[in-house]
Symmetry: D4
Subunit: 247 residues, 8 copies
Amino acid sequence: MDVRQLLEAVKTDEIDIDTAVNKLKDLPYEDLGYANIDHHRELRNGFPEVIYCEGKTDEHIIGIVDVLLKKQSNVLGTRCRKETAEKLKEIYDNVEYDELSRVLMIKNHEIKNRGKGTIAILAAGTSDISVADEAYYTAKFLGNNVERIYDVGVAGIHRLLNKRHLIEQARVVVAVAGMEGALPSVVGGMVDVPVIAVPTSVGYGASFNGLTALLAMLNSCASGISVVNIDNGFGAGYLAATINKLK
Amino acid sequence: MDVRQLLEAVKTDEIDIDTAVNKLKDLPYEDLGYANIDHHRELRNGFPEVIYCEGKTDEHIIGIVDVLLKKQSNVLGTRCRKETAEKLKEIYDNVEYDELSRVLMIKNHEIKNRGKGTIAILAAGTSDISVADEAYYTAKFLGNNVERIYDVGVAGIHRLLNKRHLIEQARVVVAVAGMEGALPSVVGGMVDVPVIAVPTSVGYGASFNGLTALLAMLNSCASGISVVNIDNGFGAGYLAATINKLK
Amino acid sequence: MDVRQLLEAVKTDEIDIDTAVNKLKDLPYEDLGYANIDHHRELRNGFPEVIYCEGKTDEHIIGIVDVLLKKQSNVLGTRCRKETAEKLKEIYDNVEYDELSRVLMIKNHEIKNRGKGTIAILAAGTSDISVADEAYYTAKFLGNNVERIYDVGVAGIHRLLNKRHLIEQARVVVAVAGMEGALPSVVGGMVDVPVIAVPTSVGYGASFNGLTALLAMLNSCASGISVVNIDNGFGAGYLAATINKLK
Amino acid sequence: MDVRQLLEAVKTDEIDIDTAVNKLKDLPYEDLGYANIDHHRELRNGFPEVIYCEGKTDEHIIGIVDVLLKKQSNVLGTRCRKETAEKLKEIYDNVEYDELSRVLMIKNHEIKNRGKGTIAILAAGTSDISVADEAYYTAKFLGNNVERIYDVGVAGIHRLLNKRHLIEQARVVVAVAGMEGALPSVVGGMVDVPVIAVPTSVGYGASFNGLTALLAMLNSCASGISVVNIDNGFGAGYLAATINKLK
Amino acid sequence: MDVRQLLEAVKTDEIDIDTAVNKLKDLPYEDLGYANIDHHRELRNGFPEVIYCEGKTDEHIIGIVDVLLKKQSNVLGTRCRKETAEKLKEIYDNVEYDELSRVLMIKNHEIKNRGKGTIAILAAGTSDISVADEAYYTAKFLGNNVERIYDVGVAGIHRLLNKRHLIEQARVVVAVAGMEGALPSVVGGMVDVPVIAVPTSVGYGASFNGLTALLAMLNSCASGISVVNIDNGFGAGYLAATINKLK
Amino acid sequence: MDVRQLLEAVKTDEIDIDTAVNKLKDLPYEDLGYANIDHHRELRNGFPEVIYCEGKTDEHIIGIVDVLLKKQSNVLGTRCRKETAEKLKEIYDNVEYDELSRVLMIKNHEIKNRGKGTIAILAAGTSDISVADEAYYTAKFLGNNVERIYDVGVAGIHRLLNKRHLIEQARVVVAVAGMEGALPSVVGGMVDVPVIAVPTSVGYGASFNGLTALLAMLNSCASGISVVNIDNGFGAGYLAATINKLK
Amino acid sequence: MDVRQLLEAVKTDEIDIDTAVNKLKDLPYEDLGYANIDHHRELRNGFPEVIYCEGKTDEHIIGIVDVLLKKQSNVLGTRCRKETAEKLKEIYDNVEYDELSRVLMIKNHEIKNRGKGTIAILAAGTSDISVADEAYYTAKFLGNNVERIYDVGVAGIHRLLNKRHLIEQARVVVAVAGMEGALPSVVGGMVDVPVIAVPTSVGYGASFNGLTALLAMLNSCASGISVVNIDNGFGAGYLAATINKLK
Amino acid sequence: MDVRQLLEAVKTDEIDIDTAVNKLKDLPYEDLGYANIDHHRELRNGFPEVIYCEGKTDEHIIGIVDVLLKKQSNVLGTRCRKETAEKLKEIYDNVEYDELSRVLMIKNHEIKNRGKGTIAILAAGTSDISVADEAYYTAKFLGNNVERIYDVGVAGIHRLLNKRHLIEQARVVVAVAGMEGALPSVVGGMVDVPVIAVPTSVGYGASFNGLTALLAMLNSCASGISVVNIDNGFGAGYLAATINKLK
């Protein structure tokens, strides 16, 4: 019995009001429509379904893809092993895979542009590109114009300054850096839009697998900056898309 | 000699082009107008001047306020001691001070609303209010409609769910929590707008002055979340305002 | 309009079913009765109201006590300053205060015994007593027989073994220790009932304010042990009472 | 000479009392019956023997299993390698092995139900299932009715709320979560029974292999919660069984 | 009933052997003489009683001193506040107090020399003297010849080498150092006797209150070195005395 | 249009001064000559090009080497895999590779001596040689006389003292050590020249992969010392060369 | 008997060679002249005596000053309390004290310039000035031309670029910064001289009293940088002076 | 020219005293006999040569063994790979290798007993045996009677108490434990001789590879305990031997 049926039973006196009040307390939220949020939120906001592949078996991933494709969803897979991607290519059409960022994409219908402006994704060094590209493909897949501006680390400040106009045109900036993680601080001082800082595990010794970059970004002396988890390119791309679709 | 004078000297053959090229390399960026960005950025984007008072003497703070008020700026002071606020009240008009959040405000002209939507500021517990209110006053002072939704910690999940509609109407959400820092994860699953997570130093023992809440927020299983430094209410309010004024 | 009114309006055709379905989605959970859990849970399970006093002003605490006493609740206050306790004694009758554990108790009606067995509270050293007593008063106030067995640290193992029979008679054991935090491991090997381990900040140098004891307890080689936060006597007492009232 | 022989020698004047007093001091505790506790405690409390297989060679494990089976024990092995399980299957009957949780079970006689109520085991995400299932098989093997409620992470709060009634029927709750470890806090606010929190090493970057979830759980703002070591599904299952067999 | 009485009752057939066996299991260990170890160990090994004063009230300390003096013990108090020492001086004779090391000594009878050789106590810098002197007074009070060799930090290696002969004559060496904690490594390479390394909290910044010195000492490339807790001069002095009284 | 062209256009009245001022603001810094610093700094200061090979594919490295060799640069590669080195040897002449330090060198023209004095590189133990040799080859390749003084750890202080004269002749000292990292402190007390301390990841247990050595070096009680990242032999060699070429 | 006397005794046959060889082994190094290095090193290299005042009593400090002034030394005191400085002013002439940096200076004779070039001291923010000034006064007192360039944090990159020429003229650069500690990375990319990075404890929350800045600086992506302890302005000034006096 | 030659030259007026004084300053310490200590210390104190094999190539190890065997030394190798041991067995006679503890022994002459008493080596669990046996073989090889007492973890306290008499007979105790590291605290309360605590990396999750056991041992509430590095069985065995040979 769902909510509508319950209400009709009240209306036709099949059940009395006290019983109905008690039953309402127990109805799963889904029957009240809250589960729509759970099941359809992604479709509503126009974002494709996302599968975090790490720690899932190939069978598991194929199972989920199967369900999503039946719903005609576009599918985005992050941290996807190459072997998994190859298995999926054998089964489905339209499978694309970027080896460096380990992003898997299945496009069943064209991606509609949902962002109002451009997202600029900056990477400090070439080793940061795998994370930056995860942000790039995520933001693209969520329907955004994305500009990649790579190898603009602060130890060669002019490389960054040379790109200033490109950066200033963005509506959201994602700044990816490992080691000392200083890029967001400099960028944060250059623009008036939100800067999403992504620390990477690039470095050695006292970089502690990205902890140093993470801490540095959290302590930025520039305003308008916030931080996501180490190597979380997906999170940055998703948040950038969330901001960029604000009307 | 500034840039204009230099160009005029070139035009009138007072100096030759080789000399001019060299001189241009040396001219302070300010002369090229870049320093406008430094000195006037805040005014341009409509944000008042902000003074971080911690670690500054009263004399220092009064000196800065003096300069800003001569520019007819509104002034926002964060982490301001009560004694400093009282000294400022004796000198200037229009000084307001909120003791709990230690925010100082001097309003010389009305704050123009620059935000397109509402910013919702959530606090998990009553002890988090001092940080949440720093975000509140910051966002207000930067020209935003701000809704405060306090004492909605996850251990009493229905208090939070009861406020769902208020939260869903916001264009940006700031979620402030100490201890286990779980609030942003639950909120992040409820809304489709950016969530700025603010860990606080509220707690004891293994909360390690907010480190636990910080780490928890960085590892949130919800998407669309980013994090600022521990107790950084100002940073969250500023970033919320930066997002909310995006057109 | 609450749920009952809504159902009556459906029954009398004042509103149609579609409208009712939509309204139900928006009704605060409290109207569905969920808030009862929030507001009355403590009364239902027989536990008195608890106020965590740290970080609250005297005015704040008095305000809360006022409300609770109007509901004729017994009141338990933890981490209460001595000055606050003295102010409360001037205002209310029946105020008791234990200075060492900083526990405040206001008993308006007799505490009903709700525990099925005895709770044994062990403390390794005399410096751990303040935390152990917080657990003691909490468990007492929640309606339990509690046995205190103090100064039984593992460096004098016979002191502990001498108390074996007392410990074995308990239905739940709370083991409080600072420094190397070894007590729960030894106790866990002696009894077949749940052992709640409480690390304390007692120690210096590499005790890191209780971190060492916390880590040691989490790594206990004995089974049947779980751990609460550093110095969290209240949490241990509350959990012990929760276990002891299981039927 | 054991205690009884000693006493008989006293009675028959074979040895005098001074000598007997001295001998008693030196008799191994086992002769006094204490070792019964060591050797038979598990049998007494109805729990099967448990072998922690990690770091033991196959030969070692087979040797222990051999001894236990001769005592007609049921045997539970945790963290057992697949290859070891397969070797054991070749040697013994009734060997069961769950690959995901790496739990090995040898049932020589039916497991007697010793728990008074149901144990609910909750897992936040699908990656937490290996740990949750270790708790599940442990609790089952120790003679309990166990209900598994998986994939109820807090970022989709309605999935959890939908299971509320199932959870509320449990006598003990085990809440397993990685990443930000927020599940126990929300569950702790929903039920009045003990909640055992199990942090998992699921996550990346600043999850620090489960440290973040561990710290978050220790700082839970809900009452009635305690915590075991990272990935310690066995410990949680064992403690849940210890609580559930309380009369 | 104690052990002797029990045995006599067996002998006189007052109780039968089965009953006696059961009673023996329950007799407190003290009755078996084990408590002698607890209560008299210090007297037996010739070491005076030691009171760790930190975290004890003056009343508490005076109470303990009272009991000990009735047993005619010498008394050693560590980490004793100056005010407490002054109170004790008013009450008792023979009270000595060293302000820098906060060591309190009450000598009721002459200290008998129990050490076979000399204990050398080295301090790297003048700021380490408070800890070194705690070791010094402890070792003296436990009946040892002690040689103090201070201000021999490794950055002026010749100061240390100049003292080589003094150091080489010791039977046990205590090496106290803060900051980088390098002293024990150099000393460990110079002597063939046990070296007890004591890290101190002397330093700032990345000394982390002695953690750096502690870690350095644990990683010493010299053999024959072991380490006690940060600032634990007492522990080092006690261990040195324990070694030095080995026959 | 570059700066020169702009100035000529001003001179010939092709564009007016206001336009020129605006254009100047936007010209990439490179046109102003700043990029020279970026592109040619290494050549200017006589240092060869350096490739940090870790995390770069063989194709990537070969591509960079190709470009550099076209500029007739000498090439230094650090952290180069053996396989990569072998591939390069097949393609290019003059390729040298040191397996222990993983340094790759391609010398197209003789290295000019640019250092005024000698650089002494000290290593505490034989396990530190791989890092020390990275510093050695780096400093050699940057044009310095370098003296290697290895196996002079502080636990055998006379080995170090025996080398005193060699060390005192250096203009810069690099001190490489793992474990407790004490070498720089002793050396810093022996010389009046800059000492660059290099912690290595040599050790186990509480050496935490070099963290202990790093912290110890930062807390050195000797003056004139500074520290680089763990295992950063290249950084130390580069800095030593930078100091040694100071005129 | 000192070395010279020993040799004369050998020469005059007062003692035979075997005896002399043995005596030489035992003579304190000071007699061999090594202690000269200890006692006179500072005077030889022209550096004044330095007293680290933290943790020393006023009496202690005055005692040391007394001795030094008798040797006609200039005296530099770091981390000196204001009250100590005032006491010293009452006793001695020529006492100068800088309150912000807590540097005490007693100049008995003019400071001779020993540096070949200029030392540039950069500070990121105004709160870093106390540490930067400790470096400044130290370097000045050790005989150097020092240029202070303050408030050039990377979030306003043009402020830093505007000072480029000043910075490029230095022979050694000291870069002082708290919070994210990014300044040395940017400066390191701008100059070809050694950069000494000084992390400060300026910041809050996840700055962990300077740990974040320290780690960031150790992981700098720029070359030619090394790091000293948190807030160690003295160490940086001393090292800068050591480098700057290299011939 | 060595010291003797120098003295003879003085005696015969070949060189004057001033020259001799200067030359003496420069003579390597070895010429003064100090290096004897370096080269012959091990032989003098009767300890065999020890090779730490980790991080050394087989060639390297064989080279060292070769030299030592030429000196007719017994040889002890720690952390030796199985393959290395097998290579050595092919080359030399008398090679023994213990696979679990990775200890290599080459006995060329009988080991002389140098210890005055017995060393007891306790291990908490079976997984700690590899470390405990490293201590065992080390102490044996250094000439001691060693008693192994394994599997006496504190969670089954009676197993430990049953071995009390064995433990009490030792002159030195080594206590090896992982996980919560509680064994030394209990043992320290049972004996009056030095206890050397060895933390092991046995455990998982919050054991942090032995850090928890290390910290627990440093904070032991028992006296007479000191600690060596994680898994440092060799260090404990060596120190135990150093103590046990004290006369």
